[in-house]
């Protein structure tokens, strides 16, 4: 096959057959906190089982609500240096990381024109309360680009009242496209590696196409990177419902 300008032809992925299984799709809507799913590796599952037991113990005593990246949370922590021993911070969750007991989430807010981020450990005994103030998912799972966005997108009122939750079924997705500060940014968010859908790129077409040079379209077809968590998730869901139902 001879291409027009002597360069190798652009990689055209084969069309993937889309299988829609209507039976199992309904059951997948239940929420499982991402830190319960063990990472892919060769560690003994006993280690994760023991850790899960400790996590369940903590959850029995303290209610950790269901939340995703993009929710606005208010966290009250115990702090010996405050006057009334506890400290409240309101912010948008920009990242959820870590597995097991070391699971963390980062809250971001802009106070008095100063951007502040705090990384909290979900299972830390210092946390006294977590309230969800606004329930909405965003287009991406990692909102680190808010650091390079205009500060209005990260400001949240500290005395915000919790919005009433209508449905117990679906969490609305906010399709907000955020406007950025002028470049340079902390990371090159226009590159396909980050796959960000929530930014309104006002860069010239030339720059957007130049960023596509770093795309790796074969990555989604790499079978060695596949990690099917459906069976593991089912097991963990059963465990959780048994233990927490008691």
């Amino acid at each position: 096959r001879v291409s027009s300008d002597g360069k190798p032809p652009k990689f055209q992925p084969p069309p993937k057959p889309v299988i829609i299984d209507r039976k199992t799709q309904k059951e997948q809507s239940r929420f499982l906190s991402p830190e319960f799913i063990p990472p892919r590796g060769r560690t003994d599952p006993l280690k994760y089982y023991i850790e899960r037991k400790d996590m369940i113990q903590r959850r029995k005593v303290f209610n950790i609500p269901e939340f995703y990246v993009g929710h606005v949370l208010a966290v009250t922590t115990a702090n010996p240096h405050t006057s009334d021993k506890s400290n409240r911070f309101v912010g948008i969750c920009i990242q959820r990381g870590g597995k097991g007991l070391g699971a963390t989430f980062v809250l971001r807010n802009v106070i008095e024109d100063q951007g502040v981020e705090i990384c909290y450990e979900l299972y830390s005994p210092r946390i006294q309360a977590i309230e969800v103030l606004r329930l909405e998912k965003r287009l991406d799972e990692n909102l680190m680009y808010l650091r390079d966005a205009l500060p209005e997108y990260s400001t949240f009122d500290v005395n915000m009242k919790p919005a009433p939750r209508m449905d117990h079924e679906e969490i609305p997705v906010n399709k907000l496209q955020v406007r950025m500060k002028p470049k340079p940014w902390s990371k090159r968010w226009e590159r396909p590696k980050y796959n960000i859908k929530g930014i309104k790129f006002e860069l010239p077409e030339r720059k957007m196409q130049a960023a596509q040079k770093w795309s790796q379209p074969w990555l989604e077809f790499d079978m060695l990177r596949e990690y099917d968590t459906s069976k593991i998730e089912e097991k963990i869901r059963k465990e959780l419902s048994e233990e927490l139902g008691k």
């Binding site: 240096h81 400290n87 100063q114 502040v116 981020e117 990384c119 450990e121 500060k181």
Partner: protein, 150 residues
Amino acid sequence: MARFCAGFAFALQGLLRRSVSHSLLSFGSITGACGAIQKLTRVRVVDNSALGNTSYHRPPKCIHVYNKTGVGKVGDKILLAIKGEKKKALIVGHKMPGPTMTPRFDSNNVVLIEDNGNPIGTRIKTPIPYTLRRREGEFSKVLAIARNFV
């Protein structure tokens, strides 16, 4: 050749000012965070002292960190070069992530201080981390003028 280009680019940056500057730092170009505060880091003075708030053609830079390691974290004293003079300052927040549950700020914040520890300004509007309260004895006067805590 590379040095000539860098000089030319730096001169251009003065002309091609970004039309919208949302941060309070009005420097030419800003490199990424290189860790906490060390020698030659540009810092942001957050109190309302005259020295910290008058504009100058060079940003305030750290020239020495009073620490065994040369890296300053929250609560360390540093020597600052502002407006052609040397002044001591206290670090109240940096861009580098610290231990969990401690706040990470979007700019390296600093409060101007005398040799005996008295702050020069009279008010600090930006939030200060609670961890400074642990050393209440040394920083009592700085904590007294702070308004918001995080």
